[in-house]
Amino acid sequence: MSMTTAINVPIISGPRAYGRRYWVFAVPAAAVVLVVILFPWLFTLYMSVHDWKVTGDTPYVGLANYAKMLSDERFLYAVVRTLYFTAASVVAPLILGVWAAVCFASKFRLRGLARTLFVLPMMATPVAISLVWTMMFHPQLGVLNYLLTSVGLPPSTWVYDASTVIPTLVMVETWQWTPLVMLIVLGGIASLPTDPYEAAILDGASAWQMFRHITLPLVWPFIMVAAVIRLIDALKTFDTIYVITLGGPGTASETINILLYQTAFAYYDLGYGSAMVVVFFVLILLISLLLLRIRQREDLR
């Protein structure tokens, strides 16, 4: 034994031989990932093919939970609602975020402070801001209806009516997450070369022309990254909807995530809830991959 070690020492002392052992660094983190991420995935798959309530037997039911989803109107409506909420919650922050990024890319006084204030909504605790929004939406005493009526507009029902609840939640989501889009796109603008702009200024291009023909095409990849991130987050939105409406009025704002919570932790139908998790996860992956594909196609052009 001691002979072999003695022989091996000079061989493994070079940096290249050490290179192979860097994976050891990742072992503790891998163990954590295994317990808190991988185990839940596998166990969710397992539960999704069982009739699993909190108490009693958990018989194997095959794909019955998945079949149930197809005829479950409440689930199907939740899917449609989620897609509607998500589409609006991607587009609005994206447009405003690009506008904000262009503004924050130019120099002006107090830019640092303005940018920090702009970023606050995404850092603030979602539950805290949701409670304040709820108070602001109050139909009789809320400050928002006061502001609307004081400029001559009719008051809104905000989250208290099925027809206005999702647009209102989209507004909260937009208020909260436009800063993230802004930061990603701002990072893109900061990495742009300055020569095209100098040439354009010499040619007498307007600010809009420069934005449309130089900035937009060059930062497009960053905008797509922001779109994918926004898409994933909008699909997963939970805290604000849960606190502000709990899926109501009725089920008018019940997205997949909220229904999932209710199924698993209010009705304790863990098997069906798990099947929903699997479908939800596949849906998220598919939509994100689709968007990434579109981006790749555009890169090819």
Partner: protein
């Protein structure tokens, strides 16, 4: 020349108006939150609304701590977020170093998948696991589940930082006979300290803000602040003043951290598009 100046002036004006329009929803929102928390109940339910508290009162804040076990919840939040952040640094920083050195992009993709997965989907199996282990009612399940948020943030931010470091210094240390562990601890880590700060702040903030894990896993005495604000106050007190005060208490540490460390936070967020949950 005059036309050129006029155009420049209009451009500046447009910029300032844009910035004002973009920033005011955030500023007005937080000012209104502050206003609600500093007014008595009479002013809070007045119509037309009272905008500036006159005189401002701290009664709502006193109320929050006097009528509820808010101190316990604050301590819970501090324990959970500090533990989850500390553990994530302990596990995540070396992992990010290993991944950056071996250029293991597949491992990085796994982190991305963790970013894509809805937080709720971890909860059903983990809830059963913690029940089986008899941990429900302690803070352990919260610390463990918060790792789902903090570990990916730390790994993601740190991979970027370690990849950006020049490798020569570590190579030199290895040539001089240092082990890779020593090269990591004494050479790479000190150089990556700014990155560790960024990762720490972001992990802490998103752990502090987390609501969904606490809602499912916390018992009466193990609630973190966001859960407590939602569960206790919305049901036991419907008055706006204390509710706004409690909301402000919960989010104030995060807002202060953002204002003080804006450069680090912006750098971290821009790099990874990080978000918890």
């Amino acid at each position: 020349m005059n036309r050129h100046l006029a155009r420049r002036f209009l451009g500046r004006l447009g910029l300032y108006v844009s910035v004002l329009l973009l920033v005011s929803p955030a500023v007005l929102f937080f000012l209104w939150m502050l206003s609600l928390s500093l007014k008595n109940e009479l002013d809070n339910t007045a119509w037309p609304p009272v905008f500036i508290p006159n005189p401002p009162t701290l009664a709502n804040f006193v109320d929050v701590f006097a009528k509820n076990d808010f101190l316990t919840y604050t301590i819970n939040s501090v324990i959970v977020s500090f533990s989850a952040t500390g553990l994530a640094l302990l596990f995540g920083v070396p992992a990010a170093y290993g991944i950056a050195k071996t250029k293991a992009t597949k491992a990085a993709a796994l982190i991305l998948i963790a970013r894509v997965t809805p937080g709720l989907s971890y909860l059903i199996p983990l809830f059963l696991l913690f029940q089986y282990l008899g941990l429900i009612g302690t803070l352990a399940p919260l610390v463990i589940t918060h790792l789902v948020i903090t570990v990916p943030i730390v790994v993601w931010v740190m991979i970027g930082f370690f990849e950006g470091l020049p490798g020569e210094l570590e190579e030199a240390a290895l040539m001089d006979g240092a082990t890779i562990w020593q090269a990591f601890v004494y050479v790479a880590m000190p150089l990556a300290r700014p990155g560790i700060t960024v990762a720490m702040i972001l992990a802490f903030i998103f752990s502090w803000n987390n609501f969904i894990f606490g809602v499912v896993l916390a018992g009466r005495t193990t609630r973190t602040l966001p859960v407590a604000v939602y569960n206790v106050l919305t049901f036991e007190q419907i008055s706006w003043g204390p509710l706004a005060a409690a909301a402000l208490i919960v989010t104030a540490p995060v807002l202060l951290l953002t204002l003080l460390m804006q450069k680090e936070i912006v750098a971290g967020l821009t790099a990874g598009g990080v978000k918890g949950g």
